[in-house]
Symmetry: D2
């Protein structure tokens, strides 16, 4: 039973699309039906700290597993992974990269669930969709990340107000009505006047999302003969909640997007 | 902080590729580094019945979740899912379909693990890659499935011999050497003469792989006034290990690929 | 001066997209800025018979040059070329097929111009854009051609009325106003009552567009010993102006889309 | 006769692929069967000056017609057109850009033929194929152009020797044999010793190919009251045969690839 008579189905119909060289490759994954998923698992609103920490832990494991991911940025049930410009990961084949990333992340999410929700069983399979996008230069990859962080701010600002209103007794419809057409300034006033909340005091993880990258960290590697610590700069995968829209972060971490150059 | 200045990164760089209409869409997923994964988890060789049943259970849940999957065929750590020709699932967007399927399958695999390996903990995250292929007509989709089943046979025939030899004391290298250049007939003789094994008596799940589909099943739906059962034909998701290369299976199950016509 | 240091620009950035097998390949070309081109060259309105015959002559030469084109359909400054389902023309590479067809057609148009417009010089370069579309089965390729012929009818019906009105003294704006919201029946009435024209008597080339294909033609190949002609069926490239929406044409010419089966 | 029932053939099967933003778009066209075409039209070997000038004239007209083409480079029967990085020409739709360019170039070639070959009729339609490639940054677009010019050198060096040998009485096979395995140095020696030709004295158009771009040219725009010429810098489309591999050309013409920045 030779297979040759059927192998044309592979040869003539399967195509491996390769992503163009010299482009940053972004894989963005996004929770599927997480509105429902977060209800079933009673996530806190507007932000469930444990759920976010779980996402961050999965992203950290992604960077440990795939060295060509140089940066990741996450907010809510979404995470973007940036592969270095010249990566040859799976010869830049789009389907491989997309499917691997989304599958490995999903698997991590399931396995780490108990670490963050020790008292809750997974009642439905969490799953994610994903897409791959190429950015040809520093400006566009910066702007991509800025786009996600601006989105994080806009959504979180709104949601913070919305859930304050709901928790204070309004219906969801009334809360929506109250916020309709408000500007950033109006939302800040509402928070401070009605709820004595300064938005800037909200946790940075909620306001800024989370960035995962290899940070230069001074580590004690051994002790010299006199008992003095000998330190070295090592790269350590780090999660931070900093602003990545302005130039400061990128000026301080130029090596992140310049690895291998 | 308006997002509009960054939104060009979506508009100008993200493209939604849609798959052409009137084509069967196949998503084939495949275990990543499952050689290693199966060693770490001590899978039986050449076939671990529990591991295969776990794959089948996940595939069954895929058909429950996604009604547009009309057929699935699995062998080893691989599964192919066939969406009906005219599906409008996520408007036939390739990235959505690929990522969703591979993610949901991965999630199921993790969640169902304990049902099939109650005494083994998952020690590493199982993950899968995937690809999407379009087939334009009945002949090519049949040939695609035949291709996978022929592959199943060729691999299983070889592996059955290989592991018999190894379990009988040969090194892996010696076993490989013994089998080099052998034809189907030679392998059958080796099995029967050296190991008193008739290959055709091996479990069908090992030899034929597993097909998952909605079968017409007569079910008792209620009892009439005289206590006689009233039966109806219902569609029930079924796993079978039949030949899908020849025409018989498809003649008996014409409705599978003709749904909605 | 070895080229190897630069050859990466080909290897890493050039991709040959192949069209999926078992699909009819359609190349549709369309005149660029032919509104202007037809004005400059004083084409008759609404149809310039010589311009259409020139298009048909080019299409005929296309079928002579490329045997894998089995059918062509043209209307106005547009022509569709249908390659047979299993063609291996340039290994089904999309860019090759598209660029070759549009370039060869353009070249023919320039070279044959004088045959159809002996007294007019080409004052500007005629040029065309094009696209490639795949159709997976008989139904969709039929429907594609029907779509083009319905479009031909709708446009020609309108244009016939429009130019009758303009030639009778109305401004273009008034003509447009008169036709706004009219149905097919209204247009026929307008033509018969105001201009004593029966639309069905208009030339078939205007109403139906032109089909080019290899027709079975009985040809005298030699004479027998008694002076009687010996005839054979030969395939001869033919231009006709028939209905290709209904089944009659295709029933009589089944071999056109079944070559090689 | 409404068209709606057939319009699905467009909606479900036609896809407009857009090229990613912030990439230089290169359209490279290449003569089809020009070996034959040049024989039929008795082109001089290894270089026909008129044929090259015709190609350059067509390229010049391309830059006149399409302002978003910022640079073109041609050699033999091949021409590359570089669109500026941010061009929105036809919304960056690949099929439009490819087909338009190759068609317009073909049309020009036919129309300008008589200007360069007044005594030769076109005996067969000249036609070209083409492809589109995207380059994401300055380095890769420079390297692309260098790749083509190195190719020009390698081919012309070989062909110069080959045709000298053939014209001196060798058969084509013998000439081929003589050149097999020779390095650049060997070819220079062969030319100088056997034919008293210094390769560097060959026309630059043959050795370097042709570049077409908008050059800054000082032009007399009017005369002042005292009869002195008033000059302005104007951009004028220019053909040159310079080295574009090294940095000099690009340093002197930085504005070419930086238009609009």
């Amino acid at each position: 039973m030779a297979n040759s008579e059927y192998e044309y189905v592979k040869r003539e119909f399967e195509f491996d699309r390769r992503l163009p060289a010299s482009n940053w490759i972004v894989v963005r994954i996004d929770g599927c039906h997480f509105h429902r998923f977060s209800k079933i698992h009673a996530f806190e609103k507007p932000n469930d700290e444990n759920a976010l920490r779980l996402m961050n832990a999965c992203a950290t494991s992604m960077l440990e597993k795939f060295p060509d991911i140089v940066f990741a940025y996450g907010v809510s049930d979404e995470y973007s992974f940036v592969f270095r410009e010249e990566t040859e990961f799976y010869q830049r084949r789009e389907s491989k990269i997309l499917s691997l990333c989304v599958s490995y992340f999903t698997s991590l999410y399931g396995m780490k669930w108990k670490d963050f929700f020790p008292n809750k069983d997974l009642r439905e399979p969490p799953y994610f969709d994903g897409r791959v996008v190429c950015y040809p230069n520093m400006k566009t990859i910066h702007d991509y990340l800025a786009w996600r962080q601006v989105d994080c701010h806009i959504n979180n600002h709104y949601n913070t107000c919305f859930w304050m209103l709901v928790k204070s007794g309004k219906t969801e419809k009334e809360a929506q009505q109250t916020l309709k057409g408000t500007f950033s300034k109006d939302k800040n006033e509402l928070l401070s006047q009605q709820f004595q909340v300064n938005y800037e005091d909200e946790p940075a993880m909620f306001r800024k999302g989370s960035s995962v990258y290899r940070d230069k960290v001074e580590t004690k590697v051994k002790t010299d003969d006199y008992g003095n610590p000998i330190k070295r700069i090592r790269l350590a995968i780090t999660v931070s909640n900093l602003d990545i829209i302005g130039p400061e972060f990128w000026e301080k971490h130029q090596y992140i997007l310049q690895e291998g150059k």
